[in-house]
Amino acid sequence: METSTLGELLGRARQNPGFWKKVMYGIMVLLVGLNVLIYPHHPHFPGEGKPGYWAVFALVATVAMVRICKGAAHTFLGKKEGYYDR
């Protein structure tokens, strides 16, 4: 089957999940570290001046959004495909 160099490169990227996880955690730490040094001069939201505010916001929001939306889909929103064609 034909594949290109780019395809091989992108395909190989997932053969090393441990490495990518480390890179990701490294970036997280770096970003929160930078947040100690760089902060908004005129915070618009209460608590925005504290380092890690947006990190916590993003993480909590992501987990909450997945749980709430998927929960809704599993309980009452999700129907068989072609639900209206009955």
């Binding site: 395809g7 997280m28 760089i38 001069h41 939201f45 916001f57 929001a61 987990v63 129907k79 495909e81």
Partner: protein
């Protein structure tokens, strides 16, 4: 410059007329020409009022050119070039005609100076876009097209009713900004008509219903023009309406919530139109100079990256025959360029620095925060997280990775013109991201905004980074299910069914009763009367006549026996008899 105003709709309308007449299939190479002519027209047009004409006893203004209409026309023209290059391989004249008419309608709305002109082009768009759904030529597309057309007709009728009542009240079809405090009920009718096309929740369900069922190239066009034309008319007419500020924020969050649970890639993107248009609508509602500029800038950036998203998922659909994430996966080695181009659009919509969404979306959010609309700004930040979660991570992960490499699935080769169009879109996403002043110089309002400050870049990086962390924790739960998620179309369909029920049952029962009553009482009564009349006729009238004849005979017999030969006696008797018969006949005739 000695340029004159050339209406950009004209080349598209000419193309729509000519395409059916050309005999060879080579006409397809000329498809981007009307779009290139539109680009030239937009770049050279002088501001002012042009194209004034008399029609239906009204003065129509087809060319209102100012900074607001130019920024929309600019991106409409560029996206038309990209869209027609993307559609170049297609040997379907009907689709090309519909797309040309549709784009012509979009330009017509943007340059319309009065409600009547606006309405004419508005309906042209509605009809042409319905064609782009029907031309997918599948039973589900046909049904979705009917629903789409029905809903847009409803919105169009609200606009028509509002503008006619407005004309009655003010004596003019002028399409100017309406101050929120001075808005009359008919203005709200017009606003509702606009909100249907802007897909404001809960009037939005037509969009994720119809767009995934449009043709591959049709969806690319539709993602650009219908909702953004509505954003333009809202900007022009209804800025500062509080209902838009709150409604827009709700749209932004609502769209990403559905995108998180959807399975069909094109349906996910459709919900992201609702979400992204939400930023624009919120910016229009908040109506500070910064948020209004943000709405224009975001519309511009959005048309380019959303077009690219629909082009890349369209390419995926073209190559594999499905857009359902549950049926895709493990394709990155087979379609690496589609993946890369998709990711450019995905990070643009997510607002990653260096790409176009970053320089436009943050304008609306910063504007909302600076206008002390803290809750709205926080809602829009939440929507950014959901955007990256569903378009930036979930969709590409489940379409291109997730499963083991799929090396056996038959893949239709993607035509080169599709790659060219996608490449152009991706280049624009990047250019706007790194050279935002190119976009900012087009913006109509006075507001300075610097996107690349250390804090802005760090804040969005933290948001996106920790969304990624959340995704890696929740990825198992996000596995797309081959299901259909209910949305407000549930209520539309039930309203339709209840209406149908009333037609079928109560109305039909009343109708049946009425027929029965008519049959029994009305018809029966008539028959009774006819019978009576007949009885009367037979017994009374005939009786009298027959009786009189018998009588005459009898009289004749008697007369014969009493003939005295006196002529005056005969005549006198005959006259009396005649009078009697006549009087009786008259009496019965009157009684009938």
């Amino acid at each position: 410059m000695t340029a004159s105003f050339q209406h950009p709709s004209v080349p598209f309308l000419m193309a729509a007329l000519l395409i059916p007449l050309i005999r060879t299939d080579k006409y397809r190479w000329l498809l981007p020409i009307p779009a290139l002519m539109a680009v030239a027209a937009v770049l050279t047009m002088p501001t002012g009022t042009h194209g004034v004409m008399q029609y239906l006893g009204q003065t129509l203004t087809t060319g209102r050119v100012d900074t607001l209409s130019i920024v929309f026309a600019h991106v409409f023209a560029i996206q038309a070039v990209i869209g027609f290059i993307y559609a170049l391989h297609l040997r379907d004249r009907a689709q090309h005609v519909a797309a040309n008419l549709y784009v012509a309608g979009g330009f017509g709305c943007v340059f319309a100076g009065d409600y009547l002109t606006l309405f004419l082009f508005w309906e042209l768009m509605s009809i042409a876009s319905t064609m782009l759904i029907w031309l997918n030529r599948a039973p589900r597309s046909t049904a979705a097209g009917f629903r789409y057309f029905l809903f847009h007709t409803l919105g169009g009728l609200m606009l028509l009713a509002g503008m006619l009542i407005r004309h009655q009240a003010t004596g003019s079809f002028a399409f100017e900004a309406i101050a929120p405090g001075a808005a009359q009920w008919y203005d709200y009718l017009i606003l509702t008509g606009f909100c249907v096309n802007a897909a404001v929740v809960p009037l939005h369900a037509w969009l994720p219903d119809a767009y995934p069922r449009a043709t591959i190239t049709g969806a690319v066009f539709m993602s650009a023009y219908t909702t953004k034309t509505a954003v333009y008319v809202l900007l022009r007419g209804f800025s500062g309406f509080e209902v838009l500020a709150i409604g827009g924020t709700i749209m932004a969050i609502y769209g990403v919530c559905y995108a998180t649970i959807e399975n069909n890639a094109r349906r996910i993107l459709s919900y992201h139109i609702v979400s992204q248009v939400g930023y624009m609508v919120a910016g229009i509602g908040i109506a500070s100079q910064l948020t209004l500029n943000g709405a224009c800038a975001h519309a511009y950036a959005h048309i380019i990256y959303k077009g690219l998203l629909f082009m890349t998922t369209g390419a995926l659909l073209y190559a594999t025959g499905t857009a359902k994430l549950s049926e895709l996966g493990g394709l990155v080695r087979r379609l690496p360029w589609v993946f890369v181009l998709y990711m450019v659009a995905a990070v643009s919509i997510s607002g990653m620095p260096l790409f176009s969404g970053f320089v436009s979306k943050t304008m609306v959010i910063a504007g909302a925060a600076e206008a002390h609309r803290t809750w709205l700004a926080l809602g829009l930040e939440l929507a950014s997280i959901g955007t990256f979660l569903s378009v930036g991570l979930k969709l590409p992960y489940f379409a291109f990775y997730a499963k083991p490499d799929d090396m056996t699935r038959p893949i239709t080769p993607i035509p080169a013109n599709m790659y060219v169009a996608m490449g152009l879109g991706a280049a624009l996403c990047f250019i706007i991201g790194v050279q935002p002043h190119l976009l900012y110089s087009l913006l109509p309002f006075e507001a300075d905004y610097v996107p690349y400050t250390p804090w802005h870049v760090l804040q969005i990086s933290i948001l996106l980074g920790f969304t990624g962390l959340g995704f890696s924790l929740m990825v198992g739960r996000l596995t797309p299910a081959a299901k259909q998620n209910l949305d407000f179309e549930f209520f539309y369909i039930w309203i339709g069914r209840i209406f149908l029920f009333f037609c079928q049952y109560p109305f039909a029962v009343v109708d049946a009763w009425w027929s029965e009553i008519y049959r029994k009482v009305g018809l029966g009564g008539l028959l009774e009367r006819a019978k009576e009349a007949n009885y009367c006729d037979q017994l009374v009238i005939d009786g009298i006549l027959d009786g009189s004849a018998l009588g005459v005979r009898g009289i004749g017999r008697h007369a014969a026996s009493t003939v005295n030969g006196k002529l005056q006696d005969y005549i006198g008797g005959a006259v009396i008899l005649a009078f009697g018969i006549g009087a009786a006949a008259m009496l019965f005739t009157l009684l009938r």
